[in-house]
Symmetry: C3
Subunit: 372 residues, 3 copies
């Protein structure tokens, strides 16, 4: 297996890299690296990533001449010619990977096999790939990179520096801020899932009665169309095959700085705040409101019409059925405060013993009763 990044080679000196990452360089700082690599797989042109002492053994196996190291490491003893030290290694990974990322190969200009409506407006410096379709009145900001097979429907407005990847679908009149990143085959602005029956439906009934149903009626579902759009702030990233539905009247909205992972579902009218992380396969049902800086781990679910406060963090597969106050840490299905969830499952695991104890007690009490 390849243990280093396969990005094409571009040279960076250790000195320049360290400066770019806000760290310090030691040793032969003029040494040039072309790629980053795991320690054991690093070659002489790679920067080995060894920001923890546990990677020392890996360094010995590999052939790196330079490494980004944990604070206090003795690069000379590790057999290196140069080293970079950074205050917060995980943060340095951001700068390093950005520097080394070649980005997608997209030729500048508009590919002749793109179909762009004459009334659309494309900002300067755009790169638009083959088989892209841009509809009437759409407005795309400067320096957009739009890969093959993307469709951007009528009246959509997208800010500067967008990167929209293969097969992504941007719906009509959707509004998106600057520095938008959209991964392949994501769908933004499909119609909401909203239906009504002529008479009160079974779902409406059990919501009122908490499970009781008087009479089941055969009824067809009638569509409520989605007239609203989707509004997305600056610096938002949307994962592959994710789906964000338009609102019924007002817009579904995603706040600035929020990131959605692959296969995330955001229903109609949902309001997601700023700087949230919605991890893989998270689902937010219609009209829910999510605060700022909320982190929902993979496969979390949020019921319709509820409110999740600022700074809530939910672990994997947490299912949130009721309002969650700001700052709460949640786990489980149904979601409980983290400590209550842990306690609940500790208790459940001990139930066998409890049943046995109660049976013994019963016997003991019976014996005591008989003694009298």
């Amino acid at each position: 297996m390849t243990q280093h990044s396969d990005s094409p080679a571009r040279g960076h000196s250790i000195a320049a890299l360290a400066a770019a990452l806000g760290g310090r360089a030691e040793g032969d700082t003029g040494l040039t690296i072309h790629r980053a690599a795991e320690p054991a797989a690093a070659g002489p042109d790679d920067l080995a990533l060894a920001m923890d002492p546990k990677y020392a053994a890996g360094l010995a196996l590999g052939h790196a001449r330079a490494a980004m190291l944990w604070e206090g490491a003795d690069w000379q003893a590790l057999g290196l010619a140069a080293a970079i030290f950074v205050p917060r290694p995980r943060l340095a990974m951001s700068g390093l990977t950005r520097t080394l990322d070649p980005g997608p190969a997209l030729a500048p200009g508009i590919h002749p096999a793109a179909v762009i409506d004459p009334s659309a407006s494309i900002g300067i410096g755009a790169a638009i790939g083959p088989f892209v379709v841009i509809g009437p009145g759409a407005v795309i900001g400067p320096r957009a990179r739009i890969a093959s097979h993307v469709s951007i429907a009528e009246g959509a407005r997208i800010g500067a520096d967008a990167l929209i990847l293969q097969g992504a679908r941007i719906g009509a009149r959707v509004v998106i801020g600057d520095r938008f990143i959209c991964h392949p085959n994501a769908v933004i602005g499909a119609d909401g899932f909203s239906f009504v029956t002529p008479e009160k439906s079974g779902v409406e009934e059990i919501r009122q009665t908490l499970g009781e149903r008087e009479q089941i009626r055969a009824q067809a579902w009638i569509r409520i169309h989605s007239l609203g759009t989707v509004e997305i702030g600056d610096d938002v990233e949307i994962g592959a095959n994710a789906a964000i539905d338009r609102g019924t009247i007002r817009a579904t909205s995603i706040g600035a700085g929020t990131k959605l992972d692959n296969l995330v579902h955001v229903g109609h009218n949902v309001q997601v705040g700023r700087d949230c992380l919605l991890c893989g396969q998270v689902g937010i049902a219609g009209s829910a409101r999510i605060g700022d800086r909320v982190v929902l781990a993979g496969q979390c679910g949020v019921s319709d019409n509820i409110f999740v406060g600022d700074d809530v963090i939910a672990g994997g597969a947490t299912k949130i059925f009721t309002n969650a106050p700001a700052g709460r840490v949640l786990l489980g299905s149904p979601a409980l405060k983290m400590e209550n969830h842990v306690e609940a499952w500790k208790n459940i695991r001990r139930l066998g013993r409890l049943f046995a104890q109660v049976a013994e007690l019963k016997e003991a009490v019976t014996r005591l009763g008989q003694k009298d």
Copy 2:
């Protein structure tokens, strides 16, 4: 945030709208509105939607001259010039949004950059976008609207008035009824997920032994091809990035009037009845049968080969592992009757106290025993 629908302006008189919605108009019924809006965001050309007294404050903030109001509202006191009253507001939303929805911008006729096999048959009045591919022998009914990048494979047959949106994939020989709506990047008719090992596999073994495994064998999975198709009734809607697999021999089928939300997965051979709602990210494993009018909320799961009866309603993230009788209301993972689920979690939450009580009892009994 935009608080009104962004659909292009088309005028509708209050009188005409009220009539179309089966309601009554009051005041200046000749007044023309162009869009629907939330009360606080409504402008003078919008119809404010205020079908509940709680929206009265919003009306005061907005600039609506006309509103759809709750029964008994005093439109004049609310400062309006005209009002619409309807018997079932949620139902009226259907007619209103249908009236105001401009629909996708699709030029009539077949775009020159579509690739349509000469043996395919396209009904009259079709609008087919750029980069659409329609295979040999496919039959598309009249008035179809097929957006860019859609593929419809060989021998597929689709009824009248279809709306198939960007990048949707319709597989070979799939059969679909009238008034079909398919959202972007949905996949109908991929192969089923069906594999077999030369000898009995671990999965087959633990199904029989409920968890016991004699001997673990290394084996490769051999593919069972899907010869069946997918059959979809009239008035079905499929969400963005949803996936419906073809059957092995018989067809996977979706009954008339059933709606699937985004990212729903329907496995091979599954039979879904009429007028069901499968909400976002629901998954139905292979060969399961779902009755009529079943509602599965977001992230529900149904195990393979089981049966879910007519009119079953399951709350969000309910995981159904065993047959569910008709009319049952289910919650939880594993799915329980709603009242049992509520009771189970009430009990679990009280376990800490129960453990304490049993400990106290034990002490008391010990003391009593010592007294004798």
Copy 3:
């Protein structure tokens, strides 16, 4: 509903079919069938599939002249002219369906509306559909079948005999083995979901404190780019709308023989072993490692950075938060050993009775105490 496969008619003699399936033919073995069908729906040209006595009634309803039958069946008494008997019917289904599958209609050669970079290398015998895009330096093995709208980015390398279906996205520098099958709209090689805050984030904090949070800081997420690729072994199949992210430095990898169902999510850096089955909507969070021959049923989840041993089998919707040793059978959320999960829910269901018993005991003990 159609109860037989709709594949175009190609004749196969009963004798030839039985030989191909490693079974034996009886009766008029020269009889020719064109399709497979369920017993009740079979016509005179179909092979009825009745490998269990419960299908005898179906055979009586249908019009099959030939059937694949359960061992010991009396084909003459069932009114058939010919029969096939096989040692392992489910395995025979593999050979039978492969024989009868017509495969997708893809014209040989490269469609004129495909855009293939001159530096890409396409193996001999390829069939490449309309609107396919293949980037600079990509290498596609011999006999590839690539359906419409597929994109294969710069530097990707795909082995022999690939079948890549409509709208699938293969990212830059992804490496894939032989006999790859990729279903429509799957995305392989999107960027990983990896972000960092300038200071320690709330997520990092609660992981260390198990839920305690000192101070909530407003911070923006900074992107860690994905420099790694995806590496996929031979004989891998990927479902519709699935998504596999590239690694940060090393490659995300999928071992040979592993199959992924629809809407599966595989995060960055994940290592999946050989011959695994990841069923519909399974999600594997970043940097998790999955052993060989692991079977995760639909909607399972695996947390980031954990290890799931060889031969683990997890039932539907199992959520695996901690390392799982080899061979374990898991159920539930949180995942427990199957027998513990079953026991836990048996106990939970009996809690109402336990609470009542404890209340009675308390009363009895109080009475006993008062007696003294």
